[in-house]
Amino acid sequence: MAIAFIRKACIILTAAVLFGANTVEARAQESIPDGVDNSKLVYFPPLISQIGGSCAQASYIGYMFTYEMNRLLNRNASESKDNQFSYLYTWNFINGGIDEGSLGTEGLQIAFEGGIATEADFPSQYSSYQFKWTSGYESYLKAIHYRVTKIRTFEVTDRAGIDEVRHYLWNRGELGKPGGIVTFSSRSSGWTINTHYTGPSVTGYMALLTKLAPDGAHAMTIVGYDDLVEFTAPDGTLTKGAFIVCNTWGDDYYMHDRGRFYLPYYFWEQSDRSANELSHDMVGTDVEYREPKVVFRVKLDYTSRNDLSFRIGVSNKASDQLPVHDYLVPIANYQGGDYPMQGNNASSEIEFAFDFSSYVDHIHDSEEPKFFLTVSRNKRGRQLGSGKMLAFSVYDYREDPSSPKIYVCEDIAGKEIRSGDNIFSIETVAAKTTSYSKVNWLNSSGQPAAAPFVLRTADGKYVKIRFSDYNRQEGTIKMKYVYAPDGSLKFE
């Protein structure tokens, strides 16, 4: 699983700037229990058997986001696929149309900016090479409701860091509430796991990692801890305590112990370890369920999806030809490889919902808002695709969520998507009109053109005019003219 270091650094930096590193400051006053296993709570989904190199998305989205959202909404994750979130939804946007690893924070960023589709709304994908994108306004609209609000990072290189995470796993600093879960990364090829552990524990698993892996890269989820688990360190010292790791390699009988294993605190206390061997940070997240306010509905047909990106915007006046405020959509941004819109060997037709809710203040600022969709087409990958727009409309849920106002872009169906920016707009208020001359009498700087004008007067006579020195602040303009009062065409 190859991960570009620079890309990772950028994403981590972005996450830190956007969301802010955070720690749980609240502390429960009651004593912390010896063991916590949040994977036994109803909020945790059935074990995932990841497809391809999707471990980070499986851990961050499939497990952690799903768990935290169900914890927030007090829902049973196993009750319905509507209560589980699709890790392939984010992975297939991120992976560039090739089976490779990703960064979990990229998935959380999509969740922050646009939400996550449920498993119920994501098409079945059995092979890593299908790279599917879901289609349908309702599917994406539902996704918009489920959002990340914050990414938490925990530095775990000593006992203090371990204790901070233990408390987070216990109750996230909220007395009487269930705890959170966190993600981490480590090498995974060649590790040693004793699957016959029979030592003390309160959580009862028989798989204990006894040696970190020398190779590979993998993201996993910590779902709890057990302070009674014993591990003999390489120097013969008996240590106590371990985190409970939940893997994404399915629930096969031979896979650890029901997909889980203990990862002793000992390894986390080795502050001189490399981050590749075992990450120095763990990541948690806060989530929210949010009602959308304004949503763009976009339907198109295109053969090579990584050529396209989308921006959604608004301007202040119906006559504007360009948006004043313009935002990049967090998905389908030159992503997904050289495939049709819905994936490898799938349909080239797709329908999206893009959330504009974060930007509604810009609509309030305007008396006659005009919505803009910009579809940018630039060759990416091996081939330049082709296609056309099918529909574009804007749903405004602000006054009545059950009956949104719908603004429709007319005459867009069948318009070819050309290279560069393809700009489509919808006026919410008809543009004002008035009567005037279409002569270009001003240049781009707002001053009268240097060329002379010939004016025909109300009674049909001719005058040549040169305007100059247009001063709008003073309300003055100079005019030199020669008038032929006899109706002649001649000016001399």
Binding site: K317, A318, S319, D320, A431, K432, T433, T434, S435, Y436, S437, K438, V439, N440, W441, L442, G446, A449, A450, A451, P452, F453, V454, L455, R456, T457, A458, D459, G460, K461, Y462, V463, K464, R466, R472, G475, T476, I477, K478, M479, K480, Y481, V482, Y483, A484, P485, D486, S488, L489, K490, F491, E492
Partner: protein, 125 residues
């Protein structure tokens, strides 16, 4: 309603000497003026014959536009980025305007016979 300072006028009046006996060509009138009291919120109307402004109307007022469209005592009006002539949807007159890219002001000796833009409804930008 004089809002114009005529800096120079006249000139060619009686200097026309190329007329034959049957022609009574009026001399051209040459002038240079500064129009005052332009405003982005109102049209300011100008009469070429009188060499002065003749009134104003509120921008985007259909009612006032109609009244001015019926008048013949103005030739063009200015409001912000817009100019209108007494023609088409702006007025009942025989007006129109063209921009001559082939001459400068001095070398333009004769008005084109056609090519004049007649006013029409347009989007307010």
């Amino acid at each position: 309603m004089k809002k114009v300072k005529i800096l120079s006028l006249i000139l060619a009046a009686s200097l026309c000497c190329a007329c034959n006996h049957n022609e009574s060509k009026e001399p051209v009138i040459e002038a240079e003026v500064t129009i005052h009291e332009l405003d982005n919120g109102k049209w300011l109307y100008f009469s070429i014959k009188d060499g002065e402004t003749v009134g104003t109307s509120t921008f985007l007022s259909d009612e006032e536009d109609k009244l001015w469209a019926a008048r013949s005592d103005w030739d063009f009006a200015i409001c912000g980025d817009y100019i209108k002539t007494n023609s088409g949807t702006s007025g009942n007159g025989k007006g129109g305007i063209l921009r001559d890219e082939t001459h400068n002001f001095q070398t333009l000796k004769e008005a084109p016979a056609d090519g004049y833009l007649i006013d029409s409804e347009g989007i307010v930008k």
